[in-house]
Subunit: 357 residues, 2 copies
């Protein structure tokens, strides 16, 4: 077992009331950090006070975007255990993102150990209400103080913890989505399947324009033909057409979401017909025309399941399931969250008790 250094914060914060948490605004008292250099590899694992970080303005992350991140969650169960969802799977994806950005892989066991330690130290920050969670943000940045394009020699890893409120505090609210036909998020041969800042920088203009037009998010199309569906702003997307659950296959420009994988595994276990394949906007609109488009929903770590009530493409708008949350989306949401909050037995091996990971 790796020795994780610990420096206790002198000042401890107070968690706001759970209904005021929102998303990503508050951070716990401590964070986990680790350093990388070529001589020592990843070293110096430590839980330290969450505080300002001093870095030279020449650090490469500011200039050339060599960085990756993850987004995971821990939950407090009714019997007061704290569990993390799919720890190793998220951290394995972290290493796949690292490969895409030429960043040295982490030792998943050491980082899991650090994660466990920082959650234990800050366990008072794990909210209690159903729907709330402790959002976990591991990230790595390139730190060489050098203003020329190259792969950095040095890196810093952080894990931040942020208590977050219930995404659906006011109940499920199907969203209106714009099929984006001007901007492109990612292309084959690019970084679309990595969780890296570049992909999110790409999305800002489109997201701003869609918001002004009254849409919650955009649905990205492929860069080449501009007809095949890729993913939503911060979620993967699923279509239930004539009883079949369809989601775009991971061709290389799409992020392989962990909730996407969870949904696929659940649906298969339930005996639902599941297809990961290319699907065009035209096919979706044609299915709607024929009355076969039963449900559309996004999947992501933040919302788990986000029902889509309207899809707009080149000015044409379709309404899905009378703008109501579908039964299948609801069943998925309930099952995933029941497992996450320890209400039902996890037969998939998805949850890790913090005291046991």
């Amino acid at each position: 077992m790796t020795e994780i250094a610990f420096t206790k914060s002198n000042t401890l914060g107070i968690m706001p009331p759970e209904e005021q948490l929102g998303f990503g605004k508050y951070f716990t008292d401590h964070m986990f950090t680790m350093d990388y250099d070529p001589e020592n590899g990843w070293h110096n694992p430590a839980v330290i006070p969450y505080n300002e970080y001093s870095v030279l303005p020449a650090a490469m992350v500011f200039h050339y975007g060599q960085a990756i991140f993850e987004g995971m969650k821990a939950f407090r169960t009714e019997d007061d255990r704290i569990i993390v969802f799919r720890t190793k799977d998220y951290l394995a994806r972290f290493n796949r993102s690292a490969d895409a950005l030429c960043i040295p892989n982490i030792d998943i066991d050491v980082v899991t150990e650090g994660l466990k330690k920082v959650i234990e130290v800050d366990k008072a920050w794990v909210p209690t209400k159903v729907g709330t969670a402790l959002y976990i943000r591991p990230f790595i940045i390139a730190t060489d103080p050098y203003v020329g394009v190259k792969v950095s020699d040095t890196y810093k890893l952080f894990i931040l913890l942020s208590p977050v409120g219930a995404y659906y505090a006011a109940g499920f609210n199907p969203v209106s989505i714009k099929v984006e036909d001007k901007y492109v998020r990612a292309t084959l041969g690019g970084l679309g399947e990595a969780k890296t800042p570049a992909n999110y920088a790409m999305s800002l203009r489109a997201q701003e324009e869609a918001k002004k037009e009254g849409f919650a998010q955009v649905l990205w199309l492929d860069a080449v033909e501009r007809k095949y569906i890729e993913e939503v702003g911060t979620m993967n997307i699923f279509f239930k057409i004539n009883g079949e659950l369809i989601t775009p296959d991971l061709v290389g420009s799409i992020l392989g979401g962990m909730t996407r994988r969870t949904v696929l595994e659940l649906a298969k276990a339930w005996g639902v017909k599941v297809s990961e394949r290319r699907i065009s906007v035209e096919e979706v609109f044609a299915a709607h025309e024929k009355g076969q488009l039963e449900e559309v929903f996004g999947t992501g770590t933040a919302a788990v399941i986000s029902p889509v009530g309207e899809l707009s493409w080149k000015g044409k708008k379709i309404t899905i399931n009378q703008n109501q949350t579908g039964d299948f989306a609801k069943k998925l949401f309930d099952t995933v969250t029941d497992i996450q909050y320890g209400k039902v037995e996890d037969t998939f091996g998805w949850v890790d008790e913090v005291t046991k990971i």
Copy 2:
């Protein structure tokens, strides 16, 4: 005129011998900074010691890549004046990049004032030998401490100064370039025309693989058809075919380089036939086959002109101009640098004396 605050550094560094400068490794004693928030806009312009910057690890730049930069140069003339090349043109591009990343525009006059002040304070760091320069790195980062994808409300601007050595200390050295057919840098509808970290993050894997194969850089193709030439790793590209100077037109996925523009303006002034148009790799290889490919060279702020001696595409390699620097490339290099070092009169209005800008 804007009041620029000034805090003098307590410790002054010593510039290494000019032949040891290299590129982007050393920084001067001071930097220019400015802050943005919605209430005050861009405010607090200041020349302060170059030092570590304290920032919350939750700052959005680390997670979502909302950032832009520029790369400019100042030169010391033989009669000891310091001149900056195309100041307003670079800063106008900085604002175009800002638009693409949803970052509030800067006031070019205020930033020019700050640039002038920080160069004056650190003027001892402007090297003297021909070929050396003071590299100028303005950049802006998103600073909201928030881990959710959105446009930041707050930003910080920096201008760093870095004395750099002669790029061609040992004389022109034509480079070997790989036409990249696996990875893609940018796509229409993406951020290719902005100077933003995302584009450089995209390039790392391809650049690493090309380096291992013995190439200096990669030549990017378009994302859709994978046949039209876009740009080199950190340069724009020009072809001289049968007396005509050809460079890809700025379709939206290509950075509009300042040296590219300088070369186009010079060539037109000289009466050379110039085309900005789509050009495929096939056309270039066919021109070589017919003996009409006279010269190939890259253009960029760092190298000014970088002759290309070899081009390799899908395993087929062509040698250009016997792997020697062409006369046209040489004439361009000499003319641009003569203007930059104040050796000949600037009839284009490109140079700004620091004491006069």
